[in-house]
Symmetry: C2
Subunit: 232 residues, 2 copies
DNA sequence: GCAAAAGTGTTGGCGGTACACCCATGT
DNA sequence: ACATGGGTGTACCGCCAACACTTTTGC
Protein backbone atom coordinates (compact mmCIF):
# COMPACT_ATOMS: atom_id res chain seq x y z
CA UNK A 1 0.00 0.00 0.00
CA UNK A 2 2.84 2.34 -0.78
CA UNK A 3 1.76 3.93 -4.03
CA UNK A 4 -1.19 5.21 -5.96
CA UNK A 5 -0.79 3.33 -9.17
CA UNK A 6 0.00 0.08 -7.46
CA UNK A 7 -2.29 -1.66 -9.88
CA UNK A 8 0.35 -1.54 -12.56
CA UNK A 9 3.18 -2.66 -10.36
CA UNK A 10 1.84 -5.67 -8.57
CA UNK A 11 0.79 -8.89 -10.25
CA UNK A 12 -2.44 -10.09 -8.69
CA UNK A 13 -3.67 -13.53 -7.80
CA UNK A 14 -7.15 -14.59 -8.83
CA UNK A 15 -9.61 -14.70 -5.95
CA UNK A 16 -12.41 -17.23 -5.60
CA UNK A 17 -14.81 -18.35 -2.90
CA UNK A 18 -15.67 -21.98 -2.22
CA UNK A 19 -18.44 -23.20 0.02
CA UNK A 20 -18.61 -26.33 2.14
CA UNK A 21 -22.30 -27.19 2.39
CA UNK A 22 -23.54 -29.21 5.34
CA UNK A 23 -26.91 -30.88 5.56
CA UNK A 24 -28.43 -33.32 8.01
CA UNK A 25 -30.83 -36.11 7.19
CA UNK A 26 -31.76 -39.54 8.47
CA UNK A 27 -29.33 -39.28 11.34
CA UNK A 28 -26.43 -38.46 9.07
CA UNK A 29 -24.35 -35.40 8.37
CA UNK A 30 -24.12 -34.77 4.63
CA UNK A 31 -22.13 -32.68 2.20
CA UNK A 32 -23.21 -31.26 -1.13
CA UNK A 33 -20.51 -31.73 -3.75
CA UNK A 34 -20.28 -30.88 -7.42
CA UNK A 35 -18.59 -33.02 -10.01
CA UNK A 36 -16.22 -30.89 -12.05
CA UNK A 37 -17.03 -30.86 -15.75
CA UNK A 38 -13.71 -29.48 -16.95
CA UNK A 39 -10.03 -29.69 -16.29
CA UNK A 40 -8.28 -29.46 -13.96
CA UNK A 41 -9.73 -32.22 -11.82
CA UNK A 42 -12.37 -33.04 -14.44
CA UNK A 43 -14.72 -35.68 -13.06
CA UNK A 44 -13.53 -35.09 -9.51
CA UNK A 45 -15.87 -33.87 -6.79
CA UNK A 46 -15.37 -30.43 -5.32
CA UNK A 47 -17.12 -27.68 -3.38
CA UNK A 48 -19.13 -25.20 -5.41
CA UNK A 49 -17.45 -21.84 -5.82
CA UNK A 50 -16.13 -19.37 -8.31
CA UNK A 51 -14.46 -16.10 -9.04
CA UNK A 52 -15.05 -12.93 -7.13
CA UNK A 53 -16.68 -10.15 -9.12
CA UNK A 54 -15.46 -6.59 -8.79
CA UNK A 55 -18.78 -5.32 -7.47
CA UNK A 56 -19.32 -7.85 -4.67
CA UNK A 57 -17.57 -8.74 -1.44
CA UNK A 58 -16.63 -12.30 -0.61
CA UNK A 59 -19.80 -13.00 1.40
CA UNK A 60 -21.91 -11.93 -1.55
CA UNK A 61 -19.77 -13.96 -3.90
CA UNK A 62 -20.14 -17.08 -1.79
CA UNK A 63 -23.92 -16.68 -1.64
CA UNK A 64 -24.15 -15.97 -5.35
CA UNK A 65 -22.08 -18.99 -6.33
CA UNK A 66 -24.00 -21.15 -3.91
CA UNK A 67 -27.26 -20.14 -5.54
CA UNK A 68 -26.01 -20.37 -9.12
CA UNK A 69 -24.52 -23.81 -8.72
CA UNK A 70 -27.00 -25.45 -6.37
CA UNK A 71 -30.15 -23.31 -6.15
CA UNK A 72 -29.60 -22.89 -2.42
CA UNK A 73 -30.28 -19.47 -0.94
CA UNK A 74 -31.14 -17.75 2.33
CA UNK A 75 -29.14 -20.11 4.48
CA UNK A 76 -26.62 -19.72 7.28
CA UNK A 77 -23.20 -19.01 5.83
CA UNK A 78 -19.96 -18.03 7.51
CA UNK A 79 -16.40 -17.33 6.42
CA UNK A 80 -14.11 -20.21 7.31
CA UNK A 81 -10.54 -19.45 6.29
CA UNK A 82 -8.51 -18.16 3.36
CA UNK A 83 -6.34 -20.63 1.48
CA UNK A 84 -3.46 -19.18 -0.44
CA UNK A 85 -0.74 -21.72 -1.04
CA UNK A 86 1.19 -20.95 -4.18
CA UNK A 87 0.50 -24.23 -5.93
CA UNK A 88 -2.98 -25.00 -4.69
CA UNK A 89 -4.44 -24.51 -8.17
CA UNK A 90 -2.59 -25.97 -11.17
CA UNK A 91 -3.91 -23.22 -13.45
CA UNK A 92 -2.03 -20.49 -11.66
CA UNK A 93 -2.14 -18.33 -8.59
CA UNK A 94 -5.56 -18.57 -7.03
CA UNK A 95 -6.44 -17.72 -3.48
CA UNK A 96 -9.73 -18.91 -2.08
CA UNK A 97 -11.83 -17.49 0.69
CA UNK A 98 -13.60 -20.58 1.97
CA UNK A 99 -17.07 -20.52 3.55
CA UNK A 100 -19.31 -23.09 5.09
CA UNK A 101 -23.09 -23.19 4.89
CA UNK A 102 -25.68 -24.98 7.00
CA UNK A 103 -28.72 -26.07 5.04
CA UNK A 104 -32.13 -27.30 6.11
CA UNK A 105 -31.99 -30.33 3.87
CA UNK A 106 -35.77 -30.64 3.71
CA UNK A 107 -35.92 -27.32 1.86
CA UNK A 108 -33.34 -28.10 -0.79
CA UNK A 109 -33.22 -31.82 -1.24
CA UNK A 110 -34.80 -31.82 -4.66
CA UNK A 111 -33.26 -28.92 -6.48
CA UNK A 112 -29.71 -29.94 -5.84
CA UNK A 113 -30.25 -33.28 -7.49
CA UNK A 114 -31.92 -31.72 -10.54
CA UNK A 115 -29.19 -29.23 -11.20
CA UNK A 116 -27.57 -29.04 -14.61
CA UNK A 117 -24.23 -29.63 -12.99
CA UNK A 118 -24.19 -32.93 -11.21
CA UNK A 119 -24.53 -31.95 -7.60
CA UNK A 120 -24.97 -34.69 -5.06
CA UNK A 121 -25.38 -35.06 -1.30
CA UNK A 122 -22.79 -37.40 0.23
CA UNK A 123 -22.92 -38.87 3.72
CA UNK A 124 -19.92 -37.52 5.61
CA UNK A 125 -18.62 -41.04 6.03
CA UNK A 126 -18.50 -41.58 2.27
CA UNK A 127 -16.80 -38.48 0.94
CA UNK A 128 -14.62 -39.22 -2.08
CA UNK A 129 -11.20 -37.68 -2.49
CA UNK A 130 -11.75 -34.05 -3.49
CA UNK A 131 -10.26 -31.67 -6.03
CA UNK A 132 -7.64 -29.00 -5.24
CA UNK A 133 -6.98 -28.65 -1.50
CA UNK A 134 -10.63 -29.27 -0.73
CA UNK A 135 -9.83 -32.21 1.55
CA UNK A 136 -7.99 -29.77 3.78
CA UNK A 137 -10.81 -27.25 3.56
CA UNK A 138 -13.28 -29.95 4.57
CA UNK A 139 -11.21 -30.90 7.58
CA UNK A 140 -11.19 -27.32 8.76
CA UNK A 141 -14.91 -26.91 8.14
CA UNK A 142 -15.70 -30.02 10.15
CA UNK A 143 -13.55 -28.83 13.03
CA UNK A 144 -15.25 -25.47 12.96
CA UNK A 145 -18.71 -27.01 12.92
CA UNK A 146 -17.87 -29.37 15.77
CA UNK A 147 -16.52 -26.69 18.03
CA UNK A 148 -18.99 -23.98 17.11
CA UNK A 149 -22.07 -26.10 17.64
CA UNK A 150 -21.14 -26.38 21.31
CA UNK A 151 -21.31 -22.68 22.08
CA UNK A 152 -23.53 -21.19 19.40
CA UNK A 153 -27.05 -22.23 18.48
CA UNK A 154 -26.25 -23.09 14.88
CA UNK A 155 -27.50 -26.67 15.00
CA UNK A 156 -31.01 -25.44 14.30
CA UNK A 157 -29.87 -24.27 10.87
CA UNK A 158 -29.57 -27.92 9.86
CA UNK A 159 -33.09 -28.91 10.91
CA UNK A 160 -36.50 -27.96 9.56
CA UNK A 161 -38.14 -24.90 11.02
CA UNK A 162 -40.12 -27.20 13.30
CA UNK A 163 -38.19 -30.06 14.83
CA UNK A 164 -38.43 -32.45 17.76
CA UNK A 165 -36.04 -32.77 20.65
CA UNK A 166 -35.04 -36.32 19.67
CA UNK A 167 -34.12 -34.94 16.24
CA UNK A 168 -32.05 -32.18 17.78
CA UNK A 169 -30.32 -34.58 20.13
CA UNK A 170 -29.61 -36.92 17.26
CA UNK A 171 -28.00 -34.01 15.37
CA UNK A 172 -25.75 -33.16 18.30
CA UNK A 173 -24.81 -36.78 18.83
CA UNK A 174 -23.92 -37.16 15.18
CA UNK A 175 -21.81 -34.04 14.94
CA UNK A 176 -20.09 -34.43 18.30
CA UNK A 177 -19.71 -38.17 17.74
CA UNK A 178 -20.84 -39.11 21.21
CA UNK A 179 -24.01 -40.26 22.94
CA UNK A 180 -25.87 -37.81 25.16
CA UNK A 181 -28.21 -38.56 28.02
CA UNK A 182 -31.77 -37.82 26.92
CA UNK A 183 -32.99 -36.28 30.18
CA UNK A 184 -29.95 -34.09 30.65
CA UNK A 185 -30.06 -32.94 27.05
CA UNK A 186 -33.75 -31.95 27.26
CA UNK A 187 -33.15 -30.17 30.53
CA UNK A 188 -30.24 -28.14 29.22
CA UNK A 189 -31.99 -27.16 26.01
CA UNK A 190 -35.34 -26.32 27.61
CA UNK A 191 -33.70 -24.35 30.42
CA UNK A 192 -32.51 -21.79 27.88
CA UNK A 193 -36.19 -21.00 27.15
CA UNK A 194 -35.22 -20.49 23.54
CA UNK A 195 -37.51 -23.15 22.10
CA UNK A 196 -41.08 -22.39 21.17
CA UNK A 197 -43.44 -25.26 21.97
CA UNK A 198 -45.83 -25.81 19.07
CA UNK A 199 -48.26 -27.91 21.13
CA UNK A 200 -48.27 -30.42 18.35
CA UNK A 201 -46.82 -33.86 17.95
CA UNK A 202 -45.48 -36.18 15.29
CA UNK A 203 -48.37 -38.28 13.92
CA UNK A 204 -48.47 -41.67 12.28
CA UNK A 205 -45.67 -43.34 14.17
CA UNK A 206 -46.23 -46.57 16.10
CA UNK A 207 -45.28 -44.94 19.39
CA UNK A 208 -45.75 -41.69 21.24
CA UNK A 209 -45.08 -38.88 18.77
CA UNK A 210 -42.44 -36.32 19.76
CA UNK A 211 -43.49 -32.70 20.23
CA UNK A 212 -42.55 -30.07 17.72
CA UNK A 213 -40.48 -27.04 18.71
CA UNK A 214 -38.89 -24.19 16.87
CA UNK A 215 -35.96 -21.99 17.80
CA UNK A 216 -36.71 -18.45 18.93
CA UNK A 217 -34.13 -16.50 16.98
CA UNK A 218 -35.29 -13.09 18.10
CA UNK A 219 -35.19 -14.01 21.75
CA UNK A 220 -31.71 -15.43 21.32
CA UNK A 221 -30.55 -12.23 19.66
CA UNK A 222 -31.90 -10.12 22.50
CA UNK A 223 -30.42 -12.38 25.16
CA UNK A 224 -27.00 -12.69 23.54
CA UNK A 225 -26.72 -8.92 23.31
CA UNK A 226 -27.16 -8.90 27.07
CA UNK A 227 -24.28 -11.33 27.49
CA UNK A 228 -26.20 -14.60 27.50
CA UNK A 229 -24.17 -17.57 26.31
CA UNK A 230 -25.61 -20.63 24.63
CA UNK A 231 -23.70 -23.76 25.60
CA UNK A 232 -24.32 -27.46 25.24
CA UNK B 1 -13.29 -22.05 -12.21
CA UNK B 2 -15.02 -22.88 -15.42
CA UNK B 3 -12.31 -22.30 -17.98
CA UNK B 4 -8.61 -22.60 -18.58
CA UNK B 5 -7.83 -19.11 -19.70
CA UNK B 6 -9.76 -17.46 -16.93
CA UNK B 7 -6.92 -15.10 -16.33
CA UNK B 8 -7.93 -13.07 -19.33
CA UNK B 9 -11.60 -13.07 -18.48
CA UNK B 10 -11.75 -12.12 -14.84
CA UNK B 11 -10.62 -8.81 -13.43
CA UNK B 12 -8.72 -9.39 -10.22
CA UNK B 13 -8.65 -7.55 -6.93
CA UNK B 14 -5.35 -6.71 -5.30
CA UNK B 15 -4.57 -8.84 -2.29
CA UNK B 16 -2.77 -7.65 0.82
CA UNK B 17 -2.12 -8.89 4.32
CA UNK B 18 -2.33 -6.70 7.42
CA UNK B 19 -1.20 -7.66 10.87
CA UNK B 20 -2.59 -6.61 14.24
CA UNK B 21 0.34 -6.77 16.64
CA UNK B 22 -0.32 -7.28 20.33
CA UNK B 23 2.20 -6.74 23.08
CA UNK B 24 1.95 -6.69 26.86
CA UNK B 25 3.93 -4.48 29.19
CA UNK B 26 3.49 -2.82 32.55
CA UNK B 27 0.10 -4.37 33.08
CA UNK B 28 -1.20 -3.07 29.79
CA UNK B 29 -2.13 -4.60 26.48
CA UNK B 30 -0.48 -2.71 23.63
CA UNK B 31 -0.69 -2.45 19.87
CA UNK B 32 2.05 -1.65 17.40
CA UNK B 33 0.85 0.83 14.76
CA UNK B 34 2.50 2.49 11.82
CA UNK B 35 1.87 6.04 10.72
CA UNK B 36 1.14 6.12 7.02
CA UNK B 37 3.56 8.26 5.03
CA UNK B 38 1.49 8.53 1.86
CA UNK B 39 -2.07 8.92 0.70
CA UNK B 40 -4.62 7.63 1.22
CA UNK B 41 -4.84 8.12 4.97
CA UNK B 42 -1.50 9.93 5.05
CA UNK B 43 -0.56 10.68 8.65
CA UNK B 44 -3.14 8.22 9.98
CA UNK B 45 -2.15 5.19 12.03
CA UNK B 46 -2.65 1.73 10.59
CA UNK B 47 -1.54 -1.87 10.90
CA UNK B 48 1.57 -2.87 9.02
CA UNK B 49 0.89 -4.86 5.89
CA UNK B 50 1.36 -4.98 2.18
CA UNK B 51 0.83 -6.72 -1.10
CA UNK B 52 1.01 -10.43 -1.59
CA UNK B 53 3.84 -11.60 -3.83
CA UNK B 54 3.25 -14.30 -6.40
CA UNK B 55 5.75 -16.68 -4.83
CA UNK B 56 4.47 -16.59 -1.25
CA UNK B 57 1.30 -17.61 0.55
CA UNK B 58 -0.53 -15.23 2.84
CA UNK B 59 1.15 -16.52 6.02
CA UNK B 60 4.55 -15.87 4.48
CA UNK B 61 3.43 -12.48 3.26
CA UNK B 62 2.20 -11.48 6.72
CA UNK B 63 5.49 -12.55 8.32
CA UNK B 64 7.54 -10.82 5.65
CA UNK B 65 5.66 -7.55 5.95
CA UNK B 66 5.82 -7.76 9.72
CA UNK B 67 9.59 -8.08 9.57
CA UNK B 68 10.12 -5.45 6.87
CA UNK B 69 8.03 -2.84 8.59
CA UNK B 70 8.81 -3.48 12.25
CA UNK B 71 11.81 -5.80 12.51
CA UNK B 72 9.68 -8.34 14.33
CA UNK B 73 10.18 -12.01 13.45
CA UNK B 74 9.71 -15.50 14.83
CA UNK B 75 6.55 -14.69 16.73
CA UNK B 76 3.13 -16.27 17.09
CA UNK B 77 0.97 -15.30 14.15
CA UNK B 78 -2.46 -16.51 13.08
CA UNK B 79 -4.91 -15.74 10.32
CA UNK B 80 -7.83 -13.71 11.60
CA UNK B 81 -10.31 -13.00 8.80
CA UNK B 82 -10.47 -11.80 5.23
CA UNK B 83 -11.91 -8.36 4.57
CA UNK B 84 -13.25 -7.77 1.13
CA UNK B 85 -15.81 -4.97 1.07
CA UNK B 86 -15.89 -3.27 -2.29
CA UNK B 87 -15.05 0.21 -1.02
CA UNK B 88 -12.74 -0.60 1.84
CA UNK B 89 -9.76 0.95 0.03
CA UNK B 90 -10.23 4.24 -1.82
CA UNK B 91 -7.55 3.33 -4.36
CA UNK B 92 -9.51 0.46 -5.78
CA UNK B 93 -10.48 -3.10 -5.17
CA UNK B 94 -8.25 -4.50 -2.44
CA UNK B 95 -9.01 -7.52 -0.31
CA UNK B 96 -7.00 -8.06 2.83
CA UNK B 97 -6.22 -11.24 4.66
CA UNK B 98 -5.83 -10.00 8.23
CA UNK B 99 -3.55 -11.64 10.79
CA UNK B 100 -2.79 -11.05 14.41
CA UNK B 101 0.57 -11.51 16.10
CA UNK B 102 1.52 -11.93 19.74
CA UNK B 103 4.87 -10.42 20.61
CA UNK B 104 7.10 -10.76 23.65
CA UNK B 105 7.49 -7.04 24.06
CA UNK B 106 10.77 -7.39 25.91
CA UNK B 107 12.37 -8.78 22.75
CA UNK B 108 11.23 -6.07 20.35
CA UNK B 109 10.65 -2.93 22.34
CA UNK B 110 13.60 -1.06 20.89
CA UNK B 111 13.64 -1.92 17.22
CA UNK B 112 10.09 -0.92 16.62
CA UNK B 113 10.72 2.58 17.91
CA UNK B 114 13.87 2.97 15.81
CA UNK B 115 12.24 1.96 12.57
CA UNK B 116 12.49 4.20 9.55
CA UNK B 117 8.72 4.28 9.38
CA UNK B 118 7.29 5.75 12.53
CA UNK B 119 6.07 2.67 14.36
CA UNK B 120 4.80 3.10 17.87
CA UNK B 121 3.34 1.01 20.66
CA UNK B 122 -0.03 2.28 21.87
CA UNK B 123 -1.81 1.20 25.03
CA UNK B 124 -5.05 -0.47 24.01
CA UNK B 125 -7.00 2.19 25.84
CA UNK B 126 -5.45 4.95 23.74
CA UNK B 127 -5.76 3.72 20.20
CA UNK B 128 -6.37 6.55 17.73
CA UNK B 129 -8.86 6.23 14.93
CA UNK B 130 -7.29 3.99 12.31
CA UNK B 131 -6.97 4.03 8.52
CA UNK B 132 -9.14 1.97 6.15
CA UNK B 133 -11.39 -0.51 7.97
CA UNK B 134 -8.69 -1.16 10.54
CA UNK B 135 -10.96 -0.19 13.43
CA UNK B 136 -13.17 -3.10 12.46
CA UNK B 137 -10.17 -5.41 12.08
CA UNK B 138 -8.98 -4.40 15.52
CA UNK B 139 -12.35 -5.19 17.07
CA UNK B 140 -12.28 -8.65 15.56
CA UNK B 141 -8.69 -9.24 16.64
CA UNK B 142 -9.50 -8.26 20.22
CA UNK B 143 -12.49 -10.58 20.29
CA UNK B 144 -10.39 -13.41 18.93
CA UNK B 145 -7.65 -12.81 21.48
CA UNK B 146 -10.13 -12.63 24.36
CA UNK B 147 -11.88 -15.84 23.47
CA UNK B 148 -8.83 -17.78 22.37
CA UNK B 149 -6.79 -17.05 25.45
CA UNK B 150 -9.37 -18.95 27.50
CA UNK B 151 -8.93 -22.26 25.77
CA UNK B 152 -5.48 -22.14 24.19
CA UNK B 153 -2.19 -21.40 25.90
CA UNK B 154 -1.34 -18.36 23.80
CA UNK B 155 -0.94 -15.94 26.69
CA UNK B 156 2.64 -17.07 27.11
CA UNK B 157 3.47 -15.62 23.70
CA UNK B 158 3.02 -12.16 25.19
CA UNK B 159 5.41 -12.70 28.11
CA UNK B 160 9.16 -13.19 28.26
CA UNK B 161 10.46 -16.72 28.06
CA UNK B 162 10.69 -16.74 31.86
CA UNK B 163 7.80 -15.17 33.69
CA UNK B 164 6.20 -15.21 37.13
CA UNK B 165 2.71 -16.34 38.03
CA UNK B 166 1.67 -12.86 39.15
CA UNK B 167 2.73 -11.59 35.70
CA UNK B 168 0.71 -14.28 34.00
CA UNK B 169 -2.31 -13.60 36.15
CA UNK B 170 -2.01 -9.91 35.47
CA UNK B 171 -1.99 -10.66 31.72
CA UNK B 172 -5.16 -12.72 31.98
CA UNK B 173 -6.87 -10.13 34.13
CA UNK B 174 -6.00 -7.41 31.66
CA UNK B 175 -7.16 -9.26 28.57
CA UNK B 176 -10.28 -10.74 30.13
CA UNK B 177 -11.02 -7.47 31.93
CA UNK B 178 -11.82 -9.10 35.22
CA UNK B 179 -10.10 -9.88 38.49
CA UNK B 180 -9.12 -13.46 39.23
CA UNK B 181 -8.55 -15.11 42.57
CA UNK B 182 -4.84 -15.63 43.11
CA UNK B 183 -5.08 -19.04 44.77
CA UNK B 184 -7.53 -20.45 42.27
CA UNK B 185 -5.50 -19.12 39.36
CA UNK B 186 -2.25 -20.66 40.60
CA UNK B 187 -3.98 -23.94 41.27
CA UNK B 188 -5.51 -24.14 37.81
CA UNK B 189 -2.31 -23.21 36.02
CA UNK B 190 -0.01 -25.45 38.05
CA UNK B 191 -2.41 -28.39 37.83
CA UNK B 192 -1.78 -28.55 34.08
CA UNK B 193 1.90 -29.37 34.85
CA UNK B 194 2.83 -27.33 31.81
CA UNK B 195 5.02 -24.84 33.63
CA UNK B 196 8.69 -25.48 34.24
CA UNK B 197 9.84 -24.20 37.63
CA UNK B 198 13.18 -22.42 37.29
CA UNK B 199 13.93 -22.54 41.03
CA UNK B 200 14.82 -18.89 40.87
CA UNK B 201 13.10 -15.75 42.08
CA UNK B 202 12.80 -12.08 41.27
CA UNK B 203 15.55 -10.17 43.07
CA UNK B 204 15.82 -6.58 44.22
CA UNK B 205 12.21 -5.96 45.09
CA UNK B 206 11.20 -4.79 48.56
CA UNK B 207 9.11 -7.88 49.16
CA UNK B 208 9.19 -11.60 48.50
CA UNK B 209 10.28 -12.11 44.92
CA UNK B 210 8.04 -14.23 42.71
CA UNK B 211 9.36 -17.46 41.22
CA UNK B 212 10.21 -17.74 37.56
CA UNK B 213 8.50 -20.29 35.34
CA UNK B 214 8.48 -21.03 31.66
CA UNK B 215 5.90 -22.75 29.50
CA UNK B 216 6.64 -26.30 28.35
CA UNK B 217 5.65 -26.11 24.68
CA UNK B 218 6.74 -29.62 23.81
CA UNK B 219 4.79 -31.16 26.64
CA UNK B 220 1.72 -29.18 25.63
CA UNK B 221 2.06 -30.37 22.05
CA UNK B 222 2.27 -33.99 23.15
CA UNK B 223 -0.66 -33.66 25.54
CA UNK B 224 -2.91 -31.80 23.13
CA UNK B 225 -2.38 -34.49 20.50
CA UNK B 226 -3.76 -36.91 23.05
CA UNK B 227 -6.87 -34.81 23.48
CA UNK B 228 -5.80 -32.66 26.41
CA UNK B 229 -7.53 -29.29 26.59
CA UNK B 230 -6.02 -26.17 28.09
CA UNK B 231 -8.71 -24.07 29.77
CA UNK B 232 -8.67 -21.15 32.14
C1' DG C 1 9.99 -3.54 62.40
C1' DC C 2 7.27 -2.27 58.78
C1' DA C 3 5.39 -2.11 54.25
C1' DA C 4 4.39 -4.68 50.13
C1' DA C 5 3.56 -8.45 47.42
C1' DA C 6 4.07 -13.77 47.15
C1' DG C 7 2.73 -18.01 48.60
C1' DT C 8 -0.47 -21.46 50.57
C1' DG C 9 -5.64 -25.08 51.94
C1' DT C 10 -10.20 -25.68 53.09
C1' DT C 11 -15.14 -25.45 52.67
C1' DG C 12 -19.76 -24.90 50.73
C1' DG C 13 -22.74 -24.56 46.91
C1' DC C 14 -23.94 -25.38 42.37
C1' DG C 15 -24.01 -27.73 38.18
C1' DG C 16 -23.27 -31.80 35.61
C1' DT C 17 -23.81 -36.61 35.26
C1' DA C 18 -25.84 -40.95 36.09
C1' DC C 19 -29.82 -43.52 36.29
C1' DA C 20 -35.29 -46.28 35.81
C1' DC C 21 -39.96 -46.06 35.12
C1' DC C 22 -44.33 -44.64 32.96
C1' DC C 23 -46.81 -42.95 28.73
C1' DA C 24 -48.72 -42.66 24.12
C1' DT C 25 -49.46 -44.73 19.70
C1' DG C 26 -49.96 -48.07 15.64
C1' DT C 27 -50.28 -52.64 14.45
C1' DA D 1 -51.58 -56.64 24.17
C1' DC D 2 -47.30 -55.60 22.67
C1' DA D 3 -43.54 -53.26 20.72
C1' DT D 4 -41.41 -48.89 20.06
C1' DG D 5 -39.67 -44.63 21.20
C1' DG D 6 -41.02 -40.18 24.03
C1' DG D 7 -41.28 -37.96 28.26
C1' DT D 8 -40.09 -37.16 33.20
C1' DG D 9 -37.32 -36.41 38.53
C1' DT D 10 -33.75 -37.31 41.83
C1' DA D 11 -29.34 -38.17 44.10
C1' DC D 12 -24.55 -37.98 44.16
C1' DC D 13 -20.15 -36.34 43.07
C1' DG D 14 -16.75 -33.24 41.45
C1' DC D 15 -15.45 -28.72 40.34
C1' DC D 16 -15.34 -23.92 41.00
C1' DA D 17 -15.63 -19.90 43.81
C1' DA D 18 -14.98 -17.69 48.06
C1' DC D 19 -12.04 -16.71 51.66
C1' DA D 20 -7.37 -15.18 55.59
C1' DC D 21 -3.07 -15.80 57.27
C1' DT D 22 2.00 -16.51 56.88
C1' DT D 23 6.44 -15.61 54.42
C1' DT D 24 10.04 -13.05 52.32
C1' DT D 25 12.55 -8.98 51.28
C1' DG D 26 14.35 -4.06 51.12
C1' DC D 27 14.39 -0.03 53.41
Amino acid sequence: METNNYCYEYPRPSVTTDCVIFGFDAGELKLLLIERGIEPFKGIWAFPGGFLNMEENSDECARRELFEETGIENVFIEQLYTFSDVNRDPRGRVITVAYYALVKLSDFKIQAGDDAQSAKWFPISQIPSLAFDHNLILRMALNRLRSKIRYQPIGFELLSEKFTLPELQNLYETILEKQLDRRNFRKKILETHLLIDHQESVKGVPHKGAKYFSFDKNKYKTLSERGFNFEI
